[in-house]
């Protein structure tokens, strides 16, 4: 009788045992990026595999999921599933997703393939490779889920071209470029831990829940199908941080610095999710503030209590972040509403019902600071004077978001910070972004800031209109401007037979 092997032992033999000690080349030349970040790995064999999935099982499970998923996509297309969404305004959340988030899945695919080659430990490498191929799955299934919407709505058709160029899309793009340009360990703390483990419930999940609440069967089915992948990614993120902290005490301050940086960078990126949840979903899931409290303050708080035994504390500026939950979404949507001619999607004034919902969800801030703006916008719109801001906004050198955030203790005053580096003055939206720059100025001076690029004539022109229509390839007045009177809205009414 053959001996029984437990899963751990079997996985060790099938996977971990594949590596060998080099005799003919310097092994450091084959894995050259492990040391420059200052992280000390004393023993890769201490790596605990976060999941022990061999390729045969991977193919089998994933193929079963794909079969079901594509059956739903086929049915969705055949039956004009887009007609079942709650309200055509909802599709604008998908435009934000496909232009802003799906390309990040692609960057994750590239980033995990890179670290999946570069780590010296075979266990960590294989786990990263599996995440790389999962991320490829996500970008491709998202494209396929939204392919049908692209045929019936405007603004999805140039998602890839736009991601490389459009002003607000440089926010997510630069976030991931930053992580990929970092060393392999920082990439893992940035994406594997901060993003996948802690923040995924605030990015991926709100979009998928939004789809569920708004009758979008294609996207929500993708979401369900990706759930077990995400669970694997989260366990990898957690293993990475524990492994680094347990390998050497000198790693602790480096990891803490990365946590501080990537949580701040992450919360800035999530601004767009905040706005999507509070303003773009016709059927609301929960408010951004509620989501933040559940997924960051409670779940994240418990996690950081666990990590305290390694000497890790809550991310820097957590106190500021806590205050921001009251303001973020309102400040962002107002910015897009007033720059609605330069966005790749439609904007609108919330309905009276929605304004009441916002008042209820944000009792301390909405009526005091934000509702009056919308009441004014309503008056102007009624007079036929829908308001658009001309002029280009100043961008933060680090997160690349326009200077739209206020001082959190004084929501009437825009927050500005600056710093002089080698005779040049750089501008920031916050202390968090300022500190990130000051720690690595050589990196952030390189940022491809869309507004600077326009002003330098690198995006065509001469006017903003040419930049938008020729360089960004937006169909002005079709892809963007107000939802009211848009081709999207007209077609929807035709399909539904309403005047």
């Amino acid at each position: 009788m053959a001996k029984k092997l437990n899963i751990k032992e079997k996985y060790r033999l099938l996977t971990r045992d594949l590596d060998w000690e080099f005799s003919y080349q310097d092994r450091k030349k084959a894995f050259p990026y492990e040391e420059f970040e200052g992280i000390k790995i004393t023993d890769w064999s201490k790596w605990e595999d976060p999941f022990r999935l061999t390729m045969d099982s991977y193919w089998k499970y994933q193929a079963e999921k794909e079969k079901k998923l594509y059956a739903i996509f086929d049915a969705f297309q055949q039956n004009n599933g887009h007609l079942n969404v709650s309200d055509p305004r909802y599709v604008n959340a998908l435009k934000v997703f496909l232009t802003g988030v799906s390309p990040l899945e692609y960057q994750a695919y590239q980033g995990f393939a890179h670290v999946g080659r570069q780590f010296g430990g075979v266990g960590a490498r294989v786990a990263c490779q599996m995440q790389a191929i999962d991320e490829l799955r996500h970008v491709q299934t998202q494209i396929h889920a939204m392919s049908h919407y692209n045929k019936y709505f405007d603004g999805l058709q140039e998602f890839s071209h736009m991601h490389d160029r459009v002003w607000y899309l440089s926010v997510p793009k630069s976030f991931f470029n930053d992580a990929r340009a970092a060393g392999p360990f920082e990439f893992m703390i940035a994406i594997g831990f901060s993003f996948e483990y802690v923040l995924t419930n605030l990015l991926f999940v709100p979009f998928m829940s939004g789809a569920a609440h708004n009758g979008d069967m294609a996207t929500v089915t993708f979401g369900f199908s990706a759930q077990s992948d995400e669970a694997r990614h989260m366990t990898l993120g957690l293993e990475v941080i524990k492994f680094l902290l347990e390998q050497h005490e000198d790693n602790v301050p480096i990891v803490q610095k990365w946590i501080d940086k990537w949580f701040w960078r992450g919360t800035r990126l999530l601004t767009i999710v905040a706005m999507m949840m509070d303003y773009m979903l016709p059927n609301k899931v929960m408010s951004w503030k509620e989501a933040w409290e559940v997924y960051f303050e409670e779940a994240g708080g418990a996690l950081f209590k666990d990590l305290a035994r390694y000497g890790i504390r809550m991310p820097k500026y957590s106190d500021v972040i806590e205050k921001e939950k009251e303001h973020l979404s309102h400040q962002a949507w107002w910015t897009f509403y007033t720059h609605g001619h330069a966005a790749g999607f439609h904007t609108w004034i919330p309905t009276d019902e929605e304004l009441d919902w916002l008042s209820e969800k944000y009792p301390d801030t909405f009526d005091k600071y934000y509702r009056p703006r919308w009441e004014l916008a309503k008056e102007l719109e009624a007079k036929g004077e829908r308001f658009y801001t001309s002029g280009l906004p100043q961008l933060c050198q680090t997160c690349q978001i326009p200077m739209l955030f206020t001082e959190m203790d004084n929501p009437g005053e825009i927050c500005y910070r600056d710093h002089v580096h080698e005779g040049e003055r750089y501008h920031f939206c916050s202390d968090g972004c300022h500190d990130i720059f000051v720690d690595e100025p050589e990196k952030y001076v390189q940022a491809w800031l869309p507004v600077h690029q326009i002003l330098q004539g690198n995006c065509g022109g001469p006017g903003v209109e040419e930049v938008l229509s020729e360089y960004y390839r937006m169909n002005l007045g079709v892809d963007n401007m107000d939802m009211k009177g848009s081709p999207d809205e007209k077609r929807w009414k035709q399909w539904k037979g309403v005047a």
């Binding site: 390729m55 392919s147 045929k151």
Partner: protein
């Protein structure tokens, strides 16, 4: 006879994404096209990599091969993630039933000690070669250009991990899960003279920087030779000497190689047809790595098979390269 169900027809505003339309015209696109073409970021990168400050995040100069359009590397199998995993799931289902049959009937007991020794000595150490192939293809994924090529390299890389795992399972079947055969095979990989050339070659590929050169060395040169020597020539020898049941355990590798060749041939052909410079560069790389691989494999091929075995494998390689338009 056919029946027709009436559905509501809504006229679409457009047939596909704009970048797909620019390439293939205004008509409905395939899922392969929408999942593949122009998905990768191409311009306006924000920061240079700290790990390679002389390059951009995506940088065509990471290889000396020059392509006007990296999406010319269309995969004839049209694999995107969904079709890839479904194809491999079918193959693994067949493999699983073969492995289960082999184990249930304890077919290992019918293998002579000589045959078992042969498998441990010649087949099992290949798990380390497959591991190298995994790394080399994933390297191409991280460094390469254009989703058409990078995704196919990742599929190849994951396939090779799967094959390394199947080879390890063969070892566990032979030794009744004691892992002794795997330990012996690894010892041979580390010390035995017949393997040192190949191990040195694997280590050399792993420190080679140009990713397309690595792909040429691994996927075109070494794989063609190893798969012919082992999964064709050794397979025939085992079958002729009464160990034909082993083929149940290596059928996956044989099927995979057929499938993978279609892709590899297309890659070679496309790169060669692009320009005279590319052709010259490929021939330079192929000559270099063909020479290294032949030298590395010679002792193994001779001991495992016979004096002419390597020549036969080289003839297969030369024919393959010729078919792709090289060396002629």
């Amino acid at each position: 006879m056919s029946i027709e169900i009436k559905t509501a027809t809504l006229e679409p505003v457009r047939n596909t994404f704009a970048h797909i339309e620019r390439r293939f015209g205004d008509k409905p696109a395939t899922r392969y096209q929408e999942a593949t073409y122009d998905v990768a970021s191409e311009t306006n990168f924000h920061y240079r990599p700290l790990w390679q400050p002389d390059k951009l995040l995506q940088d065509a100069s990471r290889t000396r091969l020059v392509m006007a359009d990296w999406y010319a590397f269309r995969d004839p199998r049209q694999f995107y993630y969904g079709t890839y995993v479904q194809s491999r799931a079918k193959m693994q289902e067949a493999a699983e039933s073969s492995y289960a049959f082999f184990e249930k009937r304890d077919l290992a007991r019918l293998l002579s000690d000589d045959h078992k020794t042969q498998l441990i000595r010649y087949l099992l150490p290949l798990r380390h070669v497959e591991q190298t192939a995994n790394l080399n293809n994933v390297y191409g994924t991280g460094q390469g250009m254009g989703t058409a090529l990078t995704q196919a390299m990742l599929y190849n890389g994951m396939d090779r991990l799967g094959i390394a795992q199947y080879l390890s399972r063969i070892g566990l079947i032979l030794d009744g899960n004691t892992a002794e055969s795997l330990a012996q095979a690894k010892q041979l990989w580390m010390d035995a003279d017949i393997w040192q050339g190949l191990r040195a070659l694997c280590e050399e590929m792993l420190v080679t920087e140009d990713w397309f050169e690595v792909v040429v060395a691994q996927d075109m040169v070494l794989d063609t030779l190893v798969y012919d020597l082992v999964y064709s020539q050794l397979d025939a020898q085992l079958a002729d000497s009464g160990a034909q049941d082993v083929a149940m355990l290596t059928e996956f590798m044989q099927d995979w190689w057929k499938d993978n060749q279609r892709w590899g041939d297309a890659v070679l052909k496309t790169a060669t047809a692009e320009s005279a410079d590319n052709k010259a560069l490929l021939e330079q790389w192929l000559t270099l790595w063909r020479g290294k691989a032949a030298e590395a494999l010679a002792p193994l091929a001779t001991e495992m098979l016979d004096e002419q075995a390597l020549e036969r494998a080289l003839a297969v390689l030369d024919k393959r390269l010729n078919k792709a338009g090289l060396f002629r």
